[in-house]
Each structure stands twice: as C-alpha cells, then as structure tokens.
C-alpha cells in the first residue's frame, strides 16, 4: 500500500516566511504488519494525514481533539521522536525533517517538550537538580559544569520551587511541583518553542491553575511560543491565541480562539464544544447539545472523503466522494466541511 503523501486539500504547501514554525503536509503512518518470520506490510495506521499549520513567535496554538486524533503524534514528529512519513516543518526557514544528526541536536535546543504525566516523565533515581541540569550534559556550551548547580537552582526558583530542594528526589514533590520540575527542565536550554502535551491533565483541579499561570508568565518573560495539546477545551480556550481542531489525523477547523469557540463552523467542532460540561446549573437543559453517536472510526481504515461523515448528522453522498478542503467557508477562518455553517453552541456567560 502506498503511503498517502499529499497535503490536506486547501492547505498551503509553501512555508510561511513570517512564521517561526511552518508545518506543511505532515503525514505520519505507523505500519501494520503480519507474520513473524516474513513481516508482511498489511496496512497503515494513518495517525496524521497531511496537516499544515503555522506557529508565530510568542503565540500559543491549541491543538484539540479526541484521543487517537493524532495530536500527540504531531508533537512527537515535530521533535523527531518519530520520523515523519512525509511533509516538511520549517523552523526559521530550515526544514526540521531533513536535518542531519548534528543539526538535529541543535534544533532540539530550540524546541522542547513537557509531558502529561509528571510521575513517569521524571527519573525517580535522579535528584531534581540533576534532572534539570541533564540537558547541559549534552549541550555543554550552554552551562559549564561549575555553574550547573546554581543555574539549576535559578531555574527551580523561576518555576516557583524552593531552590534549596535541589538535592531532593521527585517522589518528595507533589504532582503540581513535579510538573514545575518538568517545566524547569524544558527551559534549561532557552528554547523558542515548548510543546506542552497535556501538561495539566494529570493534576488536581486546584493545582491546574497554578501551572497554567506559570506557563503564561514564562511565555511573557521569555517570548516563548507554545503548542498546547489538551483534551480539556476550557483550559485550551484560556491559554490559546489560536486553536486547531483535529479529527482522525486531519485539521477540520483552525482559527483564533474567539472564532473557534464563539463561531464554530465545522459540525465536529460544534459537537465537541457542545459536549463540554459548563459549571453553571442554571444552564442545565437549556444548552444546544449535540450528542454524537458511535465512536471514532479506526485510523487504519478511515472513511473516504470527509473522515467525520460517519458520525455527522449533515452527511450527504458528496461527503463520501470528495474530501472537503480546509478553506474559509462560513467565516474568515478555514474549516473543512462541505456544509459548513456557524452554530453557536457555547453558552454566553451568564
């Protein structure tokens, strides 16, 4: 089976020279094989299928979608933790995916990641100081051996931890504090972009706000750009300047935070937003609720045409025949639906 290499229709193929990071036609397939001795390639899990977006300096791009939609895969491919099947990602004009080993190492300074689980992403046998200083063992020119300890302490202080705790181990910290350690480690190499992969989902409700505020402060201080991946649409709205909604490996709608939340044009975005519980009992029974039927189809065998059509209440024969292009339709921001129409599903604040 030949890997699908073309970009999602409607998306640009040329990089945007004004953007810090310009992703074009990004495809990532995971091969499915059969047999033990002779591994036969029997298909692909199409995790990401031709995604394109830009990230500007100092901006936060939210990436939302249900589990299995490919949002974490995008993050990992951008860091080349997975090799892409096709596509380009231009960081300051250079294609990240064609870099050799040495250049790649330089790149990883510029793009860092914070993981979801603050329990498993920190080595339990290393002290916090060593965890934060570890990036400098590879990028030796950033901090000399002598200054590492004080620099690690500075970083701990910067993320709101006690610098005297530099010799403690991860288990001596709470979940929120551990996530701060992860943030400090990501900052160690002065990156330009931090990819936050569900950074607050594992935290207690009362602690989430602390970490979100920290990320916002650091962004202001260091001019960082974030790709913020989360399934909690309330947190994403709060922190993002722009939001991309993904479904089965494709972006179905992308635009400014206000556009997406207040004027969603794609049925999937509408369904997603209408399902978010709102902590206001007065709205009970008064909301425009779209309850989708069924589950997300398998990315190994996605539906033809529009991938959302199997769960869509608007689906017509054309949806199975022709893939809708991601292009401005109902509003100025692009969405990928043949029957795009704005439907306001997020209740206005009371």
């Amino acid at each position: 089976m030949k890997a699908e290499t073309q970009a999602q229709p409607g998306t640009p193929t040329e990089p945007n020279p004004d953007a810090l990071l310009s992703v074009r036609g990004l495809v990532k397939n995971f091969p499915l094989t059969q047999g033990v001795l002779f591994r036969k390639h029997i298909g692909d899990v199409q995790a990401v299928s031709g995604v394109a977006f830009d990230l500007h300096k100092g901006e936060t791009l939210g990436l939302v979608g249900e589990s299995g939609c490919g949002k974490s895969t995008v993050a990992r491919v951008l860091l080349r933790l997975y090799e892409p099947t096709a596509g380009q990602a231009y960081f300051k004009g250079r294609d990240v995916f064609s870099l050799g080993r040495r250049d790649l190492r330089q790149l990883r300074r510029e793009i860092q990641i914070i993981f979801q689980d603050p329990y498993s992403s920190l080595n339990p046998r290393m002290t916090v100081g060593d965890i934060v200083a570890e990036p400098w063992a590879i990028h030796r020119d950033v901090a000399s051996r002598r200054e590492r300890r004080t620099r690690a302490q500075d970083l701990l202080e910067r993320v709101g931890l006690n610098p005297d705790h530099v010799n403690r181990y991860p288990h001596q910290f709470s979940g929120g504090q551990r996530q701060r350690i992860g943030v400090a480690r990501a900052l160690a190499l002065n990156p330009e972009i931090i990819i936050c992969d569900e950074p607050v989902s594992a935290l207690d409700v009362s602690v989430q706000a602390q970490v979100v505020n920290l990320l916002e402060d650091l962004q202001d201080e260091f001019g960082l750009s974030y790709i913020f991946i989360a399934h909690d649409l309330s947190v994403v709205r709060h922190i993002s300047d722009r939001v991309a909604v993904m479904y089965l490996g494709k972006i179905v709608e992308i635009g400014d935070e206000e556009e997406i939340y207040e004027h969603p044009a794609h049925p999937y975005t509408q369904a997603l937003l209408s399902a978010v519980p709102v902590p206001d009992p007065k709205l009970r029974g008064k909301r425009d609720r779209i309850i989708l039927t069924g589950d997300v189809p398998s990315p190994a065998d996605p539906p033809s045409g529009c991938r959302f059509r199997t769960r869509c209440w608007k689906a017509q024969p054309i949806c199975g025949q022709k893939e809708p292009a991601l292009t401005p339709r109902s509003r100025l921001h692009p969405d990928a639906c043949h029957f795009s129409e704005v439907r306001e599903v997020v209740p206005v604040e009371s």
């Binding site: 249900e66 589990s67 709470s174 979940g175 929120g176 504090q177 207690d204 409700v205 009362s206 602690v207 989430q208 706000a209 602390q210 979100v212 505020n213 916002e216 399934h231 649409l233 309330s234 947190v235 709205r237 709060h238 922190i239 935070e257 206000e258 939340y261 369904a271 997603l272 937003l273 209408s274 399902a275 978010v276 519980p277 709102v278 902590p279 206001d280 009992p281 007065k282 709205l283 009970r284 609720r289 309850i291 989708l292 039927t293 069924g294 589950d295 997300v296 997020v346 209740p347 206005v348 604040e349």
Partner: protein, 350 residues
C-alpha cells in the same frame, strides 16, 4: 422487572427514612508510615431517584467513602467509626453472607477505569451473565440471554455480535457501557458511579452521562456520582457534598452551591477553573496543594490555603463543625455567615 430476593429487598421502610444514610463514617488505613485518615466523620443521605454528587480532588476521601458503603475496604484499611444505614439497617453490622447479597443486587458500583475493572480473559457477555448466575442462580444460558438484553439497554450497537467479544475489543466508551450494564444488571436501588466519564473524551462523556440519567429516570435508583469535575456536577447533580481532606466541607443543593458557595474551598475552586464560555484573563489559583492525609492540618484542614483564614484563632485551633448556616445549606467554615452575607445571602442570626 424482578427484584432481588434478599432479606433487605422486602423491608418496607417508612417515608421518614432515607434510602441510604451515612452517619459519622470514618475510614483509616494503618500503614507502615503512619495512619492515613482517609475519611473523617462524614454524614449524608440519599433518596430514591436522587443524584448526590460527591465533589473532591484526589485524596479527598470520596472514593474511599464509596468503597466503605460497598463493603470493599480491605486491610490495612478499616472502618473506624460510623454507621451506614440502608433502608434503616446498618450494613456494617450485617454478617458477611448478607452483606454480600446487598452488594451488586441492592447497591452497585461502577468504576472509573473500565479496562482494569473488567476481567480481560472473559467475554463481556460472560461477565454480565455472571451476575445472574451468582446472585440469581440462573443457568449460564439464561444469564447470557439477560446479558444481551442489558447490552441493548445500555445501547451497545450490534449487541448480539459483540456478546462474545472481550473487553480489549471495545472502545473506552463502550467498555464503560459494559460496566454500567453490570452495575444495573440486578436492578439495584443505589448506583455509585466513581468518575464514570473522567477517562473518556468529552463527546463520549456526554453520551455516558446521558445514559446514566435516562437509566435513573427509568428505574428511580438513587445515584451517587463521585467526580472532581465541577461541570459534570452542575449538569447532573441534585445535591452536592464537597469533600476536602476526608471531610465534607459543604453540603447543599447544586444550584445553591454554584450560586453562592458557603465554604472558601468551594468558592476558591470555582474561581480557579477556566471556563469554556470565558475568554482568557488570569486564573486565580488556590495556593499550595491538597494536604497529605497522614498529616492533616490542625483546626480547619483548609486553613493553610485559605485566604480568609484567621490564624491562629479560630481557624488553626478549632475544627469547624459542619453546620446549617441557611436552611438546607451546610458549611464547615467558621466564617460561613460572613462569606454568604458577602454574596448577598440572608443567614441565620448568630
């Protein structure tokens, strides 16, 4: 529908009695590191057809209190104190055999993580049928017939073909439906749902909450919903108990609590969360993190994090009792009246 043939099922209980009444329940775990006071004297009632939400962060004792009702507290844990009255009978004094007949048939529970709650080596049909074989003495064949009925009732598509499938062949949402099918199989009077939708995507979460609500309308069972999600509580709860460090700190109708919280913890929690119908702006987090249950602060457990705390007196020196501040509104804060008065609620003269 046939009722459970247990001794308790035939008990007529007076209209003045509650279906379930938890009195002064305390649960502790004696570990090598010290005593963990997971639940410290909580009281609540539940009536038929009612939804009681128990809201709290991890470690607040919400799940342990539910396990106590189910009789599932095992060593090193023990119920240190209290009564659990089901239809007026104290479950804690029942002999093991009778206790077992209550579990599942009268009071059932569904768990957050359906994949680990289900047995991977038996088909879902087998696992639902087991309820009928064990509790009702039905044959395997009859049990499977019942299982099929139930899978239809929880709206698992093509139930007949899926009866012999194993848990791993189902999606997260479908697995949670299987859990619900097992939960309601013996037509219990009370269903305890422990974070039933937390691990699921929002669109599936909406489906599951919808299903639970409609099943409750059909059967008039009492539902105890354990969650940390303020949005879910607002959408389905009638009454809410807010738990913090093993205690109920506030108890009232959902609309009252959301309109004007009577405890600073609830108030601060509501202010700290981002909302999908609100744009950015800075979040107002609660400082610190939830206390360790081995080392609960003196006096009011929330005082180290409370902006209203008056230290040392009375907040650090005196444990505030949970008391009625306004008709049907309970709060465990020394300054609940003050807080409510600020919010424009008339309080009892003190």
């Amino acid at each position: 529908m046939r009722k459970a043939r247990t001794a308790l099922a035939d008990i007529e209980f007076g209209p003045s009695q509650h279906l379930l009444e938890v009195r002064e329940l305390a649960v502790e775990f004696n570990t090598d590191y010290g005593n963990v006071h997971a639940v410290n004297g909580i009281n609540y009632t539940l009536d038929a057809g009612e939804t009681l939400a128990i809201l709290g962060e991890s470690g607040s004792g919400k799940t342990v209190s539910a396990l106590a009702i189910m009789g599932l507290i095992d060593r090193p844990g023990r119920i240190a104190e209290g009564q659990i009255l089901y239809k007026g009978i104290d479950l804690l004094t029942l002999p093991t055999a009778e206790r077992r007949s209550v579990r599942g048939a009268e009071i059932a529970m569904i768990f957050q993580d359906a994949l680990s709650a289900l047995n991977p080596v038996f088909s879902v049909g087998d696992q639902i049928a087991e309820m009928f074989v064990v509790h009702r003495g039905m044959s395997k064949k009859e049990g499977m017939r019942k299982a099929l009925e139930l899978m239809d009732r929880v709206r698992i598509p093509s139930a007949k073909e899926r009866l012999h499938d194993y848990p791993h062949q189902f999606s997260g949402g479908m697995r949670q439906r299987v859990m619900i099918a097992i939960g309601i199989s013996l037509d219990p009077d009370i269903l305890i749902a422990d974070e039933p939708s937390t691990a699921l995507d929002v669109t599936v979460q909406a489906q599951i909450m919808e299903l639970l609500k409609s099943l409750q309308e059909e059967t008039q069972m009492g539902l105890i919903l354990i969650t940390h999600d303020l949005g879910v509580v607002a959408e389905v709860g009638d009454k809410v108990c807010v738990m913090y460090a093993g205690k109920i700190v506030e108890k009232a109708s959902v609309s009252d609590v959301y309109e004007s919280p009577a405890h600073p913890y609830t108030e601060r929690l509501m202010n700290s969360i981002p909302r999908v119908n609100q744009k950015g702006g800075r979040l107002d987090p609660i400082k610190g993190s939830p206390p360790s249950l081995m080392n609960i602060p003196h006096g009011c457990p929330f005082h180290p994090r409370c902006p209203r705390a008056r230290i040392p007196d009375p907040c650090r020196s005196e444990v505030p009792p949970l008391r009625e501040v306004v008709t049907n509104r309970l709060s465990a804060c020394h300054f609940a009246e003050e807080l409510l008065a600020e919010e424009g609620v008339e309080v009892f003269a003190t």
